[in-house]
């Protein structure tokens, strides 16, 4: 039996909606009369989010340890768009909190996702991207379709893993063979369902085929490379244990010298502890 991406996404409505704080921030961002005070009010209404935002602003991500005391200061430091990206990341993790799939160790799943997001962010910093946090979110959510598959196509998952463990194939190809779709397509459909940015959906949809991305080639290439490096670091897994083949064109598209991998991974090491503490 094959389940399509839209079928699985329609079914995910039963898990609940994306947190209201995201919608409120989105509305405020689109209101030209919004002030920093308005954004602070929205964030401060959520005590957990306030604490995390302040921890983030004081973490190694931004290099002002201990100096940021208010939400307003944190927003000024981080920037509005970046703040929304980080709220998106927090909301996505909360969305699946407490859900046990039985097919994957959730801590391992999020460790890999966070590692991928952190590598993607550092790659974006080295590329001097204007908003590296959006790549963090894309990396964080790149495998989120797997959670949907584990939850909504659970009858088919043993067959997927049976084919994968037989060896020689990538998990994404086994998903495609059994379901007629794969986690990248399902994840992108979920992101569209949540009404997040089209660029984010495209980076997730094409993280195994970055050359297929429609208009967001660098983002897709960044997440593709980050996924490979994060799996090579063995910091967790969403099911696929070994890094999938890195596509040379994706690496070339980033315009980074191989020699930069060492400082990039050193920066990832320096940030991972803070990021894990923030999101797990």
């Amino acid at each position: 039996m094959k389940a399509s991406s839209p079928d699985m996404i329609a079914d995910i409505d039963t898990l609940g909606s994306f947190p209201a704080v995201y919608q409120q921030l989105d509305e405020a961002l689109n209101d030209p009369n919004s002030s920093i005070g308005r954004f602070s009010e929205i964030i401060e209404y959520d005590v957990d989010l306030t604490a995390r935002l302040l921890r983030l602003a004081n973490s190694s991500f931004y290099g002002f340890p201990g100096n940021i005391e208010t939400v307003g200061q944190a927003i000024t430091l981080i920037g509005l768009q970046q703040m929304q990206d980080l709220v998106t990341a927090r909301c996505a993790i909360d969305f699946f909190k407490g859900i046990s799939s039985g097919f994957v160790d959730m801590e391992s799943f999020w460790r890999h996702s966070i590692a991928c997001g952190t590598v993607a962010r550092v790659l974006a910093v080295y590329r001097r991207e204007a908003n590296p946090e959006r790549l963090f979110v894309a990396g964080l959510l790149h495998d989120i379709g797997r959670l949907v598959i584990y939850l909504k196509a659970s009858d088919a998952v043993p067959e997927i893993f049976c084919r994968y463990r037989a060896g020689g194939k990538l998990l994404v190809d086994c998903e495609q063979a059994v379901l007629g779709t794969n986690h990248a397509e399902v994840g992108a459909a979920l992101i569209r369902h949540w009404r997040l940015s089209p660029a984010l959906a495209e980076a997730v949809r094409c993280h195994h085929r970055p050359h297929d991305a429609a208009g967001h080639l660098v983002d897709a290439a960044t997440v593709h490379v980050a996924d490979v490096l994060a799996l090579a670091l063995e910091t967790g897994s969403s099911g696929q244990k070994l890094p999938p083949p890195l596509q040379p064109a994706a690496w070339n598209r980033l315009g980074l010298a191989p020699l930069l991998v060492e400082p990039i991974l050193n920066d990832v090491d320096a940030q991972m502890e803070d990021v894990l503490a923030l999101f797990l």
């Binding site: 080295y126 001097r128 990538l170 490979v228 490096l229 799996l231 090579a232 670091l233 063995e234 070994l242 890094p243 999938p244 083949p245 890195l246 040379p248 690496w251 315009g255 010298a257 191989p258 020699l259 930069l260 991998v261 060492e262 400082p263 991974l265 050193n266 920066d267």
Partner: protein, 101 residues
């Protein structure tokens, strides 16, 4: 030696960030890229030398493990050569520290 300032090419593209540890290999690469000089930190700021010679057996085992992890990769590409070198170094690092303790 540790880079004091980032190294960029004429297009201002970053080649290596400040804080990176550089050796003879990096210097050869800089020369091939046309970089004639770089700023490095004072010698006393450099980290302690590595924890002595690496056991060849441990290095070989670490390399085998890394090659298993990179089984789907084009292992001879310049990027994967560098990734392999770094991953082997990471596998050896904690073992060396344990031996030193």
């Amino acid at each position: 030696m540790i880079l004091k300032a980032p190294v960029c090419n004429l297009d201002r593209q970053l080649l290596l960030g400040a804080g990176a540890v550089i050796g003879e290999r990096h210097i050869r690469l800089f020369q091939s890229w046309g970089v004639l000089e770089v700023a490095v930190r004072d010698a006393e700021c450099a980290p302690a030398a590595s924890a002595g010679p690496v056991d060849p057996g441990a290095a070989e085992l670490a390399d085998r493990e890394v090659c298993q992890v990179l089984v789907h990769q084009a292992i001879d590409s310049p990027l994967m050569v560098e990734v392999r070198r770094l991953l082997v170094g990471r596998k050896l690092r904690p073992r060396n520290l344990l031996e030193a303790a």
